[in-house]
Symmetry: C2
């Protein structure tokens, strides 16, 4: 796929005034945007929720790559200075591809979470919960193994957590029962750190913490990803130069019921404008 | 959209030897295929599961219509003699459109279920459970109202039931808890008949029956839809003329994990060949 005539020609157009592009298959990525808004309030953010193709977590690798490329291409046309793949399924299978292809820095949400987890674990026993696509891609296993070959890792797909978060059953008996079913086998492995490997899962943090108990630290990728982006923009001299409360522009590929209600609970602020766009 | 140069030119090519086309966003429609195979074993069936766009139930009306049209167009090219929309969300918003557009008879899954429910209710209090898209389209409410204006109807979206069925938690504590949460308010309305308005829901019949109790009859659209198709083919002299165990051909628009395992539990037979196809 050809995005532009030359990497350099696009890269030269980016400046500290350019926005940051963020995409996800749906609403989960707004938990990452929330953290970006907290840590980088002067940066304009363009968020693309590919709702027409939600969820990515059940799709094939080839399909997730195709959809991710389309999202990246859409945001790149809006002259972004960096791209955050705020979706674990897309980060798992499309990060390398997009990093090579795009003329701007690309961040995933997996390596920041893995580094954070390895920094805080004391007994080197780390759990990861995520969608089927993310777990089966092997991305967490490879990333953990590379950084700490001696540690022990336990992975578990929790596919019900996404629809439970979207239904808004955040602290509910059904969610608690599902969490017990998924997580008690992992608790028995005596992990002390659990990576929430899906951007929807922070919404269920309360229930997950209740099942795992106070000795297990939960790692949400949003905070380390926001910190990594800040460091990167500083290094590249791409931070917006003035103090401001920058705009957030939200694009979606389909209208979905309850989008505003659920989205705002993920984002932690009002969504002023949501624009429907068509991408291939 | 133009499908062919004239309705008549295509209609003339159909014969009793032509296959029946069935589509759904995913696997749920296989519960309808199962019943078609039982009642019409000599008919060849072409099933299209639009897995790349699964689920339809959370998408907008415009998007469901666009996707349904693409599915119908794909099957029509394979010279089908009738089309069954084995998806309640698609039946709700695309049935009229496809009926007008296609040169072959089109069946939905809503009106057969509604007629069955009204035939068996004794107290004229009927419940419907379905996806958000189906409930919000108003298709069940309109169909019930039209046929029996004096009866009372109670509708409830149960979005968690689809992922619960796909996770295979068919008779599980989590599913029972979710069913209680969704259904106890409906039970209190003293309905005696409950329409399972989503082709995934028959998989959860056991749990739904447990919550609703023995006085409530459950209506699955598969049986009345298969009977209606049989009557229609007889009337149009389109029934396959000999006794045989006809082939079932399955097409999918994306590979999805556990497709065979889950699909076979829906279908009740082995899936011999599954062909990946690309549709727009």
């Amino acid at each position: 796929m050809k995005i532009c005539s030359s990497k350099r020609s696009i890269a030269l157009r980016q400046s500290s005034h350019s926005p940051i592009g963020v995409f996800d298959s749906g609403l989960g990525g707004l938990t990452v945007v929330r953290e970006l808004r907290r840590r980088l309030p002067a940066e304009e953010i363009l968020y693309l929720g590919d709702l027409a193709h939600l969820p990515y977590g059940t799709k094939s690798t080839a399909e997730i790559r195709r959809l991710s490329t389309n999202c990246a291409r859409f945001l790149l046309k809006k002259n972004i200075k960096a791209l955050v793949i705020a979706c674990n399924s897309a980060s798992s299978v499309a990060f390398k591809l997009l990093s090579k292809m795009l003329p701007v820095p690309v961040l995933d949400v997996i390596s920041p979470a893995v580094e954070e987890a390895l920094a805080i674990t004391r007994n080197s026993r780390v759990g990861v919960i995520a969608t089927y696509a993310t777990i089966e891609s092997g991305s967490y296993a490879r990333s953990l193994e590379k950084r700490s070959p001696k540690a022990e890792y336990f992975l578990k797909p929790c596919p019900l957590f996404v629809p439970l978060a979207e239904e808004g059953w955040l602290d509910d008996a059904v969610t608690l029962e599902a969490a017990r079913k998924y997580l008690i086998p992992m608790k028995k492995k005596e992990i002390d750190t659990l990576i929430l490997g899906c951007t929807h899962y922070p919404l269920l943090e309360k229930v997950i913490a209740k099942v795992m108990g106070p000795k297990v630290r939960l790692v949400d990728s949003a905070v380390p990803t926001a910190l990594r982006l800040k460091t990167l923009l500083q290094k590249e001299r791409l931070l917006y130069p003035r103090v401001r409360h920058a705009p957030l522009r939200i694009f979606v590929t389909d209208h979905v019921r309850n989008f505003a209600r659920i989205g705002e609970s993920f984002l932690g602020e009002r969504m002023k404008t949501v624009q429907l766009v068509k991408i291939p």
